[in-house]
Amino acid sequence: MTEFPAFPRRLAAPATLSRRNLLRGAAALGGVAALSALPGAARAQSGLTVGFIYVGPRDDFGYNQSHAAGAAAVKAMEGVTVVEEENVPETQDVQKSMESMINLDGATLIFPTSFGYFDPHILALAPKYTDVRFQHCGGLWAADKHPANVGSYFGYIGMGQYLNGIAAGHASVTKKIGFVAAKPIPQVLLNINSFLLGARSVDPAITCQVIFTGEWSLAVKEAEATNALVDAGCDVITCHVDGPKVVVETAAGRGAFVCGYHADQTALAPEKYLTGAEWNWAKVYTDMVTATMAGEAIPNFVRGGLAEGFIKMSPLGPAVPEAGRAQFEAVKAEIEKGGFSVIKGPLKDNQGNVVAADGEAFLETDPVLEGMGYLVEGVIGSTS
């Protein structure tokens, strides 16, 4: 099915104003302060105004919900005004949303949370609004290529998928596990590979079938993909799509176990849910806002994993056997200690090329992993 464009929730009027750049002149005269004199545009000017932009609905049991939970934590802070907009497509629309937050709401710190917002949208606005800090989630910021008022942050959630894989490896009977993926971008590929390698650390005979749906949110296709995986004999399913609700419910309905992603989906399938890799943006966002309010600069490139509190795991479900629990906890503790590598040699991709030589290991912090373009041996699927 073709994807139907979602409609930005905010009223159209402010966006139209900014589209016509009606306020550009006013902003140039007196900066943001001049705007507070305009009727309807007045906002709390004493504190910090922070903008959050989501690509989907805020309560999707997934990616956007995890960010909205972070925004809610920021909202609870003293002296901070939060403006949010959901269902903003990765098109010109996000530029309008950002300009409207800057010009009308006086936002000086913006979190556009979707991957596709970065290039060309954030990169187009950042040089124009040098007083505004653009914090992009998952982007590939580089000092020599990108403006200094743009920052990138992300978490090593692949480690969470590795732990998912351990739980899956212990629960699987058919020795075949499944992954419903949206698009073959590096973060998704790392998650798929980590999920399989986690399962293979339990039993090296396990294989992982991957099905790409081609879009971040396509409910019917995700359900079809889940059914196809179960039909192919997969008995543990996980996913990397924006809202895992459909995958979790469909898989559990077919009797398969599920590992969650983005947020805690235990409530959707209490018996079948093994564990899940979750974001913990509340900590990340409150830290960044605190730093900004204290006048400190946020580093342009921020990354963190389990140890830094960027990600966390859902509580283990009742279906994970005792041996699985022990291994899960032991590996989790080891990851938190630091120095743990999921991608380590000898390792081949599923085309037979060596991706890590014997003795070679990539730490979670290794930027090489953010350019991953392969699926490891044991994953049935293709990146194109």
Partner: protein, 307 residues
């Protein structure tokens, strides 16, 4: 848990997908067929579908009864159709423009009222296990047929017969083919078209309830992803024939299942191409059956796109 079927998994998945995915497309295209046979186009059925999905889900959550959800979805769809029909009954109103407006209104209202219902779980509609004779779990899963699918088949048959052989069917066709002839017969075209649009909306609402209450079986804002629009286009593909709507919907459902099924048996290259299969198929059939010498066969004479 389940054995390996190898390549047999593909036709089976296509069959299962056809049964699972086709129902909302079938209901929307049946509803649109009714409306268009009366001489009007309602492009707003995408919005009706989404609103029906939300209304059905919300009702099922609150009452605990999925059938109440289907009923409310049908009523909500009828109201949307009625509004479209009444507005279009006024002079010099363009039904296509109103349809687009109703589509935006339907999705917008559904998103607005649907917010509190994304998280809670609703009871599902029941399905009938037609795969009981097989001990292959994949077959059992594929033949787990929802009651609404059967209702859709029945509706297609009834509409096919009704349009051809009954008096209301004849009246509808007359109104759709010639306003002047209908007036000469003492019929009131605007009233009949409005009723046909309302009934068409009710069909689309039921299609929406299937989406949220059976497959994929939850309410979220991306639930339809354009299926309502595709179904409206399918009516032309089906040449305004209810039975053809059924085959077209099956074809679309089955073709949509092809991509995931092929990936699941290891055909992993070029899945974007497989996902385009239904659309390529539609284009192919439309080109093959088109003719430079005559208008679209079966098109109602009063339809604004073919006039």
């Amino acid at each position: 848990m389940e054995g390996d079927l190898g390549w047999w998994a593909v036709p089976l998945a296509v069959l299962g997908g056809a049964i699972r995915v086709s129902t909302p497309i079938l209901f929307v295209s049946l509803g649109e067929t009714l409306t268009e046979r009366s001489g009007r186009i309602n492009l707003g059925l995408e919005g009706t579908l989404v609103f029906g999905a939300m209304a059905g889900y919300a009702t099922a959550v609150m009452t605990g009864n999925p059938w109440a959800g289907v009923l409310v979805a049908a009523l909500a769809g009828a109201v949307f159709g009625l509004v479209h029909g009444l507005i279009c009954s006024m002079a010099k109103v363009n039904d296509i423009a109103i349809g687009i407006a109703m589509m935006l209104l339907g999705t917008g209202l559904a998103f607005y009222f649907g917010k509190p219902f994304i998280q809670p779980a609703a009871p599902d509609l029941p399905s009938i296990p037609f795969g009981w004779w097989s001990d292959v779990p994949q077959v059992q899963a594929a033949l787990n047929v929802n009651v609404l699918f059967l209702a859709g088949i029945a509706a297609a048959l009834v509409l096919h017969w009704g349009l051809r052989a009954t008096k209301p069917g004849l009246i509808l066709r007359v109104v759709g083919d010639s306003t002047d002839a209908a007036r000469a017969m003492g019929l009131r075209p605007a009233v009949i078209r409005t009723m046909a649009t309302a009934l068409g909306g009710a069909f689309a609402g039921v299609g929406g309830a299937y989406l949220s209450l059976f497959y994929p079986g939850s309410w979220n804002e991306g639930i339809s992803s354009g299926q309502g629009l595709m179904a409206v286009a399918l009516v032309i593909f089906a040449r305004w024939q209810p039975l053809n709507c059924f085959w077209a919907a099956l074809l679309f459902g089955g073709a949509g299942a092809l991509g995931p099924a092929l990936q699941s048996v290891g055909v992993t290259q070029g899945y974007y191409l497989f996902y385009a299969a239904p659309y390529v198929l539609t284009l192919g059939v439309l080109i093959a059956t088109s003719s430079p010498n005559r208008a679209l066969a079966g098109a109602p004479g009063e339809l604004s796109i073919t006039k």
